[in-house]
Symmetry: none
Subunit: 416 residues, 2 copies
C-alpha cells in the first residue's frame, strides 16, 4: 500500500463554521512541493471521543499524520493529552519547553500563568520543535514507522513550523518525484484558455488544473514519475507548449504575484510609482507594500475619498468634479497626473469608482470603476464594469487587481 | 446516542490544497441557525475507495450527512454513483431531471452533450431538488432514518440549495433550540480571560468557546435546550455575567467588527478621522473603508513610506527623523499631528514600525511599532513589540488591529 498522508484539524470553531480551516490546504500545498500528496482532510470538535476516534482511524490508513489545533493553554485544548492516551503513552512535563515558554511570555511583557504550563506537556518519548512565533511547541511522535506532527491551530504558527522545521526535516527523509509548475495568466477567460490548450490537456502527460482567482487564472501543471529527471522533462515540455500559445497573457509563475512582478519591473528599470485611490480605499497601497523592500520604489500613496481631498492633495479641478463627477474618466486622469506630481514618482496610478452596495445610480451603477496611469508623457484610462451584485469587498479586490495588471503592462510598454 | 451531523467534501482540488473548502463552514453555520450542530467535516479526493469508505464511516456515526462535490458531468465526478453502490441501490436515469437539464443548457445557448446526461442519474428511490443556478440536482436519500444530501461543489450552488430547498425542508422536520451570542474582547490575553471566567465555563450551563483573531478574542456562547425561551434565558444570564467581569475589554457583539464600531462612534459624535501609515502601507485605510458609508467620516488617508513623504505631506521635522529615526515615538507623534492638520479631521491616527522580514536592528527589531493618536488637545503614543519571526503580513495585520482598537478607546475617552 502506498504511503498516505492525512491532516486532522481540531476545534469547535471549525465544525461550527465560525472559522474556515485554511491550515489543511496550506499544509497540503507545501507537502506537494516535496512530492507528497495528501489523501484526507478532516475537522472535528474539541470532543474527546471524536478526537480519539479520528486519531485511531488515521493510524490505520495513513503513515504521515498532521494534527492542528487544540494545543492552547485553555481547558478545551486537549489534543496533546488525547494523543498521549490514544498511543498509550504517559503525558509528561518537558522542562526545556516550559523554560522556553516562560522566556517567550516574559519577553512579551505578559505575566506567566499556571495555565501556560499546560503547553509544556508532551507524550512520553515525543520530540518537538520550539515555537518562536507563539508559545505551544510543535510535537513530533514516531510510532510504528508512522509519523505524527501536532501543530497549533494559529495559521501563522503553522506556517512557521512547516517552513522552518517540518519541511527541512521531511525533505531529508523522503524521495519521490512529483513536480508542480504554475503558470499565471490574466486578461483571458477560462473557457478560451480551455479551447486553446485542449489538446495538451487531453494528452494527459501532465495533469493540468484550472484555478481562477480574482482577475487571474492559474494553470497548475503536475507531473509524476519515479524519477526526478522525467518529471522535470514532462513539466518543461508541457509548460513550454502552453507558454508558447498563451504568452501574451502570462504574467508570472509559481509563487509570483502581481505585486512581486511589479517590484521586479520597477527595480530593473530603477523607477518609482505612487497610487491615488478612491473606491479601493488603500487596498492597492496595501497590496503593493505587502512586498518587503517596496519602500525602494514607493515613497507615498494616498486615499482621497472626498472631493476636497482630491482637489487639495492631487489638484483635481473643481470644474472637472462638477462637470463629470468624481467617478469619471476625467477625474481618474487628473488623479493619476496629480499623484505623479505630488510624489515626484515616475508612474502615477489612480482609481475611482463605486464599490457599493449604495452610491450607485442609473448612469453610474455600483461596479463602475475608472483606472488611470501616467508616466508624464502618456496617460491611459480604462473603464471597468464589475457585476453590481458582487459584495463590496469583491468589487474592491477585483478592481485593485485589474489596476495592478494594467500598471504592469503600462510599465512594460513605457519608454520612460 | 445524540443525532450527529457530518459534511463530506469531495474533490482533488481540496485535498491538494489548491482550493480551500468553504462549503463545509457555510453549511455548518446555516444548520446552526436551525439549532443543529455539526460533528465532522472531511475532505477526500476523487478516489472511489476513499469515497466509499467515507460514506460507510458516516453511516455508522451520523444521522444527517451532506456530501458536496463530484456531481459534475466529467469522468472524475463519481459521487452519486459511489453513493448508489455504498447503499446497494441501482443507479437509474430520472427523465424529469434529464428534461430540466436539457432545458437549462438550451437556455444558456450551449449545445447539449452526451456527458450532461450523466447528471440525470440518481440512486434508485432517491428524491431531488432541481438546480436553478447550475445543472446538477441536489439528490436526497433517506436510508434507515438517516438523511443524505448530495450537493454540487460550486459554492454559489451550495448556497442556493441550502437556502431555497434544504433549510425549509429541515426546518419543517426538526424542533430544537440552539442560541448563540458572541462577545468580542480586545486588550486582554486568552489565558487571563480563562482565569477570570473559569467558574462560568466550568458550570457548563452554556458552552463557551474561545476564538482568538488577530488582536481580538471572541467568546462564543452557545445554549441548547428543547425550548427557545430557555435557551434565550441561559444566553442572557451567561453573557451578562461575563460582560460584568470583563466590561472594560468588551468592544462589540455578534457580527460587530472594530471598523463598524468606529463607524458608529464617529457617526454618533459627528467626528472625522484620518490615518497616516508607514509600516502598514494602507492596510488601516483599507480596513476602515471596508465599511460602506465610510466616506462620511474619512476624507483622506495617506501612506508615507519615505522620510521625504513624511516631511512633505505631514511636516514631520527633519531633525526628528535624524535624531530619533522614522520608527520612534517622536515621529509617530508628529505624523499623527501632521495628518490631523493636513486633513482637518477631528482625529489623526499614525503608525510607524518595522514589518520585516528585513530592516530590523538590535535597537529597533522587526516587530517594533509605534501608534500615535491625537485630537488636537491630547496625544497618545503607544509602543508595541510583535514577535519578530512572524510573517510580514501577520505583523502588519496585528499592528493595524491594535491601532484601530486604540483609536476606538481614544475616541470614546476624548472630550472633543
Amino acid at each position: 500500500m502506498a504511503k498516505k498522508t492525512e491532516i486532522i484539524a481540531i476545534g469547535n470553531e471549525l465544525i461550527s463554521g465560525d472559522v474556515v480551516d485554511t491550515n489543511s490546504a496550506y499544509i497540503s500545498q507545501e507537502l506537494l512541493k516535496l512530492g507528497m500528496e495528501t489523501s484526507f482532510h478532516s475537522s472535528i470538535g474539541d470532543v474527546k471521543e471524536d478526537i480519539k476516534n479520528a486519531i485511531q482511524t488515521a493510524l490505520t490508513r495513513s503513515d504521515l499524520i498532521f494534527i492542528t489545533g487544540g494545543l492552547g493553554p485553555t481547558d478545551d485544548d486537549i489534543t496533546a493529552q488525547i494523543v498521549s492516551e490514544a498511543l498509550n503513552r504517559e503525558f509528561v512535563l518537558d522542562e526545556k519547553i516550559w523554560e522556553h515558554i516562560q522566556a517567550t511570555i516574559t519577553k512579551m511583557n505578559r505575566p506567566i500563568d499556571s495555565f501556560n504550563k499546560k503547553q509544556a506537556y508532551i507524550p512520553q518519548g515525543a520530540k518537538y520543535f520550539l515555537n518562536y512565533s507563539g508559545t505551544a511547541p510543535c510535537i513530533f511522535i514516531e510510532e510504528n514507522h508512522k509519523k505524527i506532527f501536532l501543530l497549533p491551530g494559529v495559521p501563522s504558527e503553522v506556517k512557521y513550523f512547516i517552513q522552518n522545521d517540518i519541511k527541512p526535516y521531511l525533505n531529508s527523509k523522503i524521495k519521490n518525484s512529483i513536480k508542480v509548475k504554475k503558470i499565471k495568466l490574466s486578461g483571458i477567460a477560462e473557457a478560451k484558455v480551455n479551447e486553446v490548450i485542449k489538446d495538451i490537456v487531453d494528452k494527459n502527460e501532465a495533469t493540468i488544473a484550472f484555478l481562477p482567482k480574482s482577475s487571474e487564472l492559474i494553470l497548475k501543471i503536475t507531473a509524476q514519475s519515479t524519477e526526478e529527471s522525467i518529471s522535470n522533462k514532462i513539466i518543461d515540455k508541457t509548460s513550454n507548449e502552453i507558454i508558447l500559445r498563451l504568452k501574451e497573457y502570462v504574467f508570472g509563475f509559481d509563487d509570483d504575484s502581481i505585486e512581486v512582478i511589479i517590484k521586479k519591473l520597477l527595480t530593473e528599470k530603477k523607477k518609482t510609482v505612487s497610487v491615488a485611490e478612491s473606491c479601493t480605499g488603500g487596498l492597492i497601497s496595501k497590496i503593493l507594500t505587502d512586498v518587503s523592500g517596496s519602500s525602494e520604489y514607493i515613497s507615498m500613496n494616498v486615499t482621497t475619498y472626498s472631493n476636497e481631498a482630491k482637489m487639495e492633495l492631487l489638484e483635481v479641478k473643481e470644474k472637472t468634479l462638477e462637470q463629470y463627477g468624481a467617478v469619471s474618466e476625467q477625474t481618474a486622469q487628473e488623479m493619476a497626473e496629480g499623484i505623479k506630481r505630488l510624489s515626484q514618482s515616475d508612474f502615477g496610478l489612480s482609481i475611482t469608482g463605486i464599490a457599493g452596495p449604495t452610491g450607485g445610480s442609473e448612469e453610474k451603477p455600483v461596479g463602475l470603476v475608472f483606472v488611470g496611469i501616467t508616466d508624464g508623457k502618456n496617460t491611459q484610462i480604462e473603464k471597468f464594469l464589475f457585476p453590481p451584485k458582487l459584495p463590496r469587498t469583491e468589487i474592491r479586490t477585483r478592481a485593485a487587481h485589474k489596476a495592478l495588471h494594467l500598471l504592469k503592462d503600462f510599465i512594460n510598454n513605457s519608454s520612460t
